[in-house]
């Protein structure tokens, strides 16, 4: 049904917006790099595609006069979700333009801020693009060349939002949220054991447990180790049996 499609598309857009924000925060700091700029560009393009798709779907649904009242209320709620997402995206795009202009990567006198972040943001970008690994193929002056494109994209997005408002009449203040306060606690986010420990203090001793579900890499490594152990045990048992048989 239209609603399910809309919801999945909106979830995707929300995910991409969240990842884009993480990427923009990493700009200008020591984890900035050519790769990051390329990731930003790709995430942006994906976000725009999703936005256009969402918009066409939702506008067509809302223009339809034959839907029931509950359906209409539901679509209005989805519309408010969509427009808030777009507002966030627009602001982040404008900020990334500003920070990109302030921190060009190739100028040696413009140092990057030592914020303490040194890792790469590949995983975040991969999450946004819904791929396993990111492929980097851009040329080396992407930070300056991209800015012009970014400016045109920002104006596109602003235009789209203006059109949206003119065409669809939804009163955002009339929408009632389905979630109540504290709803995020009930969502099935297994709050990582590691994160809570380390981060909640920079003052007190962190009680950390092992990496947990932090990154896929350490999980994979531990599974490998366990499998290797069992293989060795089986080989030992087989050899022992053969030795016993032989004698």
């Amino acid at each position: 049904m239209g609603k399910e499609e809309c919801k999945t598309m909106l979830d995707a857009l929300s995910k991409v917006t969240a990842c884009y924000r993480h990427l923009v925060i990493a700009m200008g700091s020591t984890s900035d790099s050519q790769n990051l700029r390329e990731e930003l560009k790709k995430t942006r393009k994906k976000a725009q595609e999703l936005a256009v798709a969402n918009r066409t779907k939702l506008t067509s649904l809302l223009k339809d006069k034959t839907i029931s009242k509950e359906d209409r209320a539901e679509y209005e709620r989805l519309w408010v979700l969509f427009s808030s997402c777009m507002e966030l995206l627009e602001v982040d795009m404008k900020r990334s333009l500003e920070i990109g202009q302030d921190f060009p990567l190739k100028v040696p006198t413009r140092h990057l801020i030592q914020t303490g972040m040194t890792g790469s943001t590949t995983a975040v970008a991969a999450r946004a693009m819904s791929v396993q690994n990111m492929k980097y193929e851009a040329d080396s002056n992407i930070d300056t060349a991209d800015l012009r494109e970014l400016q045109s994209e920002i104006s596109q997005v602003s235009q789209m939002m203006e059109e949206m408002e003119m065409k669809v009449q939804v009163a955002p203040w009339a929408v009632e949220a389905k979630q109540e306060a504290g709803a995020e606690l009930k969502s099935n986010l297994s709050v990582g054991n590691s994160s809570v420990g380390v981060i909640s203090i920079c003052e007190e001793e962190p009680k950390e447990e092992e990496g947990g579900r932090g990154s896929r890499d350490t999980g994979f490594a531990s599974i490998c180790a366990v499998v290797g152990f069992f293989v060795i045990v089986i080989v030992a048992v087989v050899l022992g049996y053969l030795v016993v048989n032989m004698s």
């Binding site: 993480h22 700091s29 408010v80 602001v91």
Partner: protein
């Protein structure tokens, strides 16, 4: 009909320009120089090591060296950097100061720097609080809880979006490596402490009122404005000026007299209500308090003007004058004040009564002013206006000041009230008690009740001071007999 939602104009909200921001940004970038900048070290948190942590004394030494100033100035500058949010403290994260010791600091990401254009929005704050809620499993700090509930109420229509976005941002954050996650959380927390400060945290980013004019647009001054400016400056040159030695001398005298009475310069007893949320200072200094405070009584001795403007002092003065049987000067002065500040419709009636009571020859409360002033006033009273009694009032004020005021200060009435005046103990609240006080603020006395009390007092005073009707008195005595 189309509904135009008020889209938050996030680009230009005409916030006042903070000229220091561009310069501060250049300064912070210079601090990053790998050769000449501040040297960072690593921070060890159990298993993870996070680079780029700086000691307070290193930063201050670098600033002092770079700007060629003293260590104290560099310390103040460093504190401003922390208060604006360019550098955040790792240890005592709520106290936004730079300490000249080994306490640890780190630079803030450019996304979280203060800017004129980008106002931290409430929806962003709501997303941050929701994320924090997830991480802390519902245990938010009390001020955060208060904000959370407030935002849930008024951002309710966006609440689904906020929850969804918070969950997504949380999940995306977990894709980064562990040290980066720690740093990111510290950064975000520092950003929101600067922009939504908890109680008793002083950040430099106060919420200033927004302007109607765009401060970034340079305005052109027209020919007519130039002409008017020219006339103004010419007139200013021709005005007679007071010598600065004279005016500064007067200022110094004023400051030495009043410096203990200014709550900015000296602590006021029992405690400043704006700081401790305890309003005993106001209740002790009310209009009709029985026993005034010592500071108030001391203030009455500064000048007659102070004595008369403080209504409690005026009451005391009246008591003294009653004993001396010379209350007509003060009564005339009060009546003239009433004429000045009263309604236009009552003016002619008031002028009549004043003339009959104070100025007519043989009046019951005749005041003793010189002939010229008397003549002018009586003539003016034929066509009364608000300031018709101005000359007479000034004359009477001078009489009181030169003669009665000093007698009052030496009188037993004043000495008595000086002895009786109370000196309240200074309050000494602990931070927990201050929080309590803040929650229990009372709205104070309704002004209508105060006004009613005033009216009753006035009626009583009028009845008491009405000229005694001798015949009625005699008839009463006769009846008693």
């Amino acid at each position: 009909m189309t509904i135009r939602t008020a889209r938050p104009n996030r680009v230009q909200e005409f916030r006042p320009r903070m000229h220091c921001l561009k310069k501060l940004e250049a300064f912070v970038v210079e601090m990053q120089d790998p050769k000449n900048g501040v040297k960072g070290s690593d921070q060890k948190l159990n298993v993870t090591t996070i680079p780029h942590v700086l000691a307070g004394n290193a930063i201050i030494a670098w600033i002092a060296n770079k700007m060629k100033t003293t260590t104290e100035e560099a310390n103040v500058f460093g504190t401003m950097l922390v208060a604006y949010g360019y550098i955040y403290p790792l240890e005592n994260h709520r106290k936004l100061v730079m300490c000249n010791d080994a306490s640890l600091y780190r630079f803030q990401a450019p996304y979280f720097w203060p800017s004129q254009k980008w106002v931290p929005q409430d929806s962003d704050y709501a997303i941050y609080l929701a994320k924090r809620n997830i991480r802390k499993k519902g245990m938010l700090e009390p001020y955060e809880e208060a904000h959370y509930n407030h935002l849930h109420e008024w951002l309710n229509h966006k609440w689904d979006f906020i929850v969804m976005q918070a969950a997504e941002q949380y999940k995306a954050g977990r894709d980064r490596m562990k040290p980066d996650r720690v740093v990111f959380d510290c950064q975000e927390r520092a950003f929101w402490i600067v922009n939504r400060p908890p109680r008793r945290t002083h950040s430099a980013l106060e919420c200033v009122p927004e302007r109607l004019l765009d401060p970034n647009v340079e305005e052109k001054i027209s020919f007519d404005q130039h002409r008017r400016m020219h006339i103004f400056y010419q007139q200013a040159i021709m005005r007679s000026k007071v010598k600065s030695s004279v005016s500064i001398g007067a200022l110094v005298k004023y400051i030495t007299t009043y410096k203990n009475h200014d709550p900015f310069l000296a602590p006021c007893l029992p405690s400043n209500p704006w700081q401790t949320d305890n309003d005993s200072y106001w209740t002790l200094n009310m209009r009709r308090v029985e026993v005034p405070t010592k500071m108030r009584v001391e203030r009455w001795s500064f000048s007659l003007f102070e004595l008369l403007t403080d209504l409690r002092g005026r009451d005391d003065f009246k008591v003294f004058l009653k004993k001396e049987f010379s209350g007509e000067n003060l009564a005339f002065w009060e009546a003239a004040e009433e004429l000045k500040w009263g309604t236009a419709s009552s003016m002619s009636a008031k002028a009549e009564t004043i003339f009959k009571t104070f100025l007519a020859p043989g009046a019951p409360r005749w005041i003793n002013i010189d002939g010229r002033t008397m003549g002018l006033t009586v003539k003016g009273l034929e066509h009364p206006h608000r300031y018709v009694l101005e000359a007479a009032q000034t004359h009477v004020f001078m009489l009181m000041k030169k003669d009665t005021f000093f007698r009052y200060l030496k009188s037993p009435t004043y000495k008595d009230i000086q002895k009786k005046a109370q000196n309240p103990e200074a309050h000494n609240f602990s931070p927990a008690q201050l929080e309590q006080n803040a929650c229990n603020r009372s709205p104070g006395i309704d002004p209508i009740i105060l006004w009613q009390q005033e009216e009753e007092e006035k009626a009583k005073a009028a009845a008491a001071s009405a000229p005694v009707d001798v015949k009625a008195m005699m008839s009463k005595i006769d009846r008693k007999k």
